[in-house]
Amino acid sequence: MAAISQSDHSQSDHSQSDYSEAGRPETGGPLDASVRVDLYRMMVLIRTYEERIRQEYHADKTPGFDIGAGKIPGEMHLAAGQEPVAAGVCPHLRPSDALTATHRPHHLAIAHGVDLAKMTAEIFGRQGGLGHGRGGHMHLFDPAVHFSCSGIVAEGLPPALGQAFAFRHRGTDSVAVAVTGEGGANQGAFHESLNLASLWRLPVVFVIEDNEWGISVSRRASTSVEDNSLRAAANAMPGVRIEDNDVEAVYRAARTAVERARAGHGPSLIEVHTLRLWGHFEGDPQTYRPDLATVEERDPIPSYRRLLVEAGVLDEAGVERIAEEAATKVERAVEFALASPEPDPSTATAYAFE
């Protein structure tokens, strides 16, 4: 089902003899039906969320488009099409595991169990938000599930190393997942993070969301290698690339990588060839994008739905129910956000220091 290319030609690190074993992703039989439904459910929840945010974002920016206006001001990077990454990786994580996401963080936040209401309130810039409206959509911090993100490309990775370091130092088996886009894999922070995590055998799973675009710059125009798993090899860790945005393949690869990290065998890298269904940010005309015509048909959700229905794992009623559940959850989160007060301007300088 999933085309998985795997790099096993990397040199093994001095002390990491278990490494080529662990890098081999499981490709065995079908997943449990309940797991598959859960994967689907999560993808639907994410998509429902992103659609709703998109709608709220644009609702009051017209006529014209004023980026600073409306209930949700500022840049807005939505993750529609990239659900398989979040849905596939996060089932292997516990609330005690850390996850650091990028400027495009919602799908990962949702799948890792960030408080949806507070997250939404943060995106709406309200006092009840995760950061009391200080952070915004690119700066979501939920310490309850060790979630964070950053608006600086690839610079979210290094802090994940420190979380992993602290987990290990305390003798827990918690892990940290660190996510970047394929564009970010050309940033120095990416290389340094891989090397250090590998060297110190930190319990980190690096995930690259290859949606083929870094804003308007194609992967081909930004990246010298076809396959970032070679960059895992360049830092003596296993790397796999999943070619077709397949949530089950992501799930399997992440299981292997998370288990490896939990067992104390160090980091691995998973690159997923995913899809940016919409623009880089809302308002992006995407005039630079030649693949626009085929984007819709590559949407990973309808195809997975069909697959599950055909496999008899899900029926129409189930599909319906999942959609409704998602709509309800999202509705509640948006209601919470809208009911939360705007922050008081006289507190603008609060939280400068402890």
Partner: protein
Amino acid sequence: MTVVEEPAAKASPPPPRRLTMAKAMVEGIAAEMERDPSVFYMGEDVGAYGGIFSSTTGLLERFGPERVRDTPISETAFMGLATGAAVEGMRPIVELMFADFFGVCMDQIYNHMAKIHFESGGNVKVPVVLTSAVGGGYSDGAQHSQCLWGTFAHLPGMKVVIPSTPADAKGLMISAIRDDNPVIYLFHKGAMGLAWMAKTRRALGDVPSESYETPIGKAAVARPGRDVTVVTVSLSVHYALDVADELASEGIDVEVLDLRSLVPLDRDAIVESVSRTGRLVVVDEDYRSFGMSAEVMATVAERDPSLLTVAPVRVAVPDVPIPYARALEQAVLPTPERIRAAVRQVMG
């Protein structure tokens, strides 16, 4: 972002036209690319996209992908590339998409681009123009709203220019490209006249169609006045002028000094104005402490503290990161309201 701006004019239309700052900036770049084949432009999304803030609209179509180059998200590599190309006699213009990203490539900027000329005893020239977008006001959060010109101006080796008008955007760009030193050129997103961002009526301005240089290091008296000197730069110039217009009706005559460049800093212009008005307000969209606002005040004080008939006031971003929520962000930015209050305060 949503609206694709028309490419800059090609021939010489009847001068002057009213252009946005973005178009004027592009016109300056295009004129120099036309004139000098060693000029090229490089950065993220500067090709087909035309620059996230329309800093390069139409340039790819006009000059082709060899001279208008999209880069990977590898600021250290491409900043260094600009330095090396300049050392070999080219005149690169290199864009850092947001000034906030300086931290991923600051070593290339201030340990290399800025220092090589000095370290080589003047034997190596580094004629780079580093362009970057600054400023907030549209809820882009703590990592995408900063001005940071104080940081750039503190470190030696690079000139720092900051246009506030379309005419200066063009003239300073041409001067920066022709300058044999590295020059940082900071353009405020809110002053570019972008279709998708709120703007003031001052976003459009007359721009001569011929090529011209705006001298680097000369402040402009954006509005002469007798009572108070408001020293500022960038988008805040627009706000200061708005406030000055308003207060004129109350009989307060505000002089607005647009610094236009922080390095070199036109200290004489500051002192001269304050020596006439005796009252100083500094408006600075950068952080308050250890930055531009203090330097302006110190410039007056060290010349002669008695020039200041009342305590000067700064209107700047307090020393906290820039908050996301609109109400909070507006509370930290140097809004017209805060400028007005400051002017009233020094008027006593």
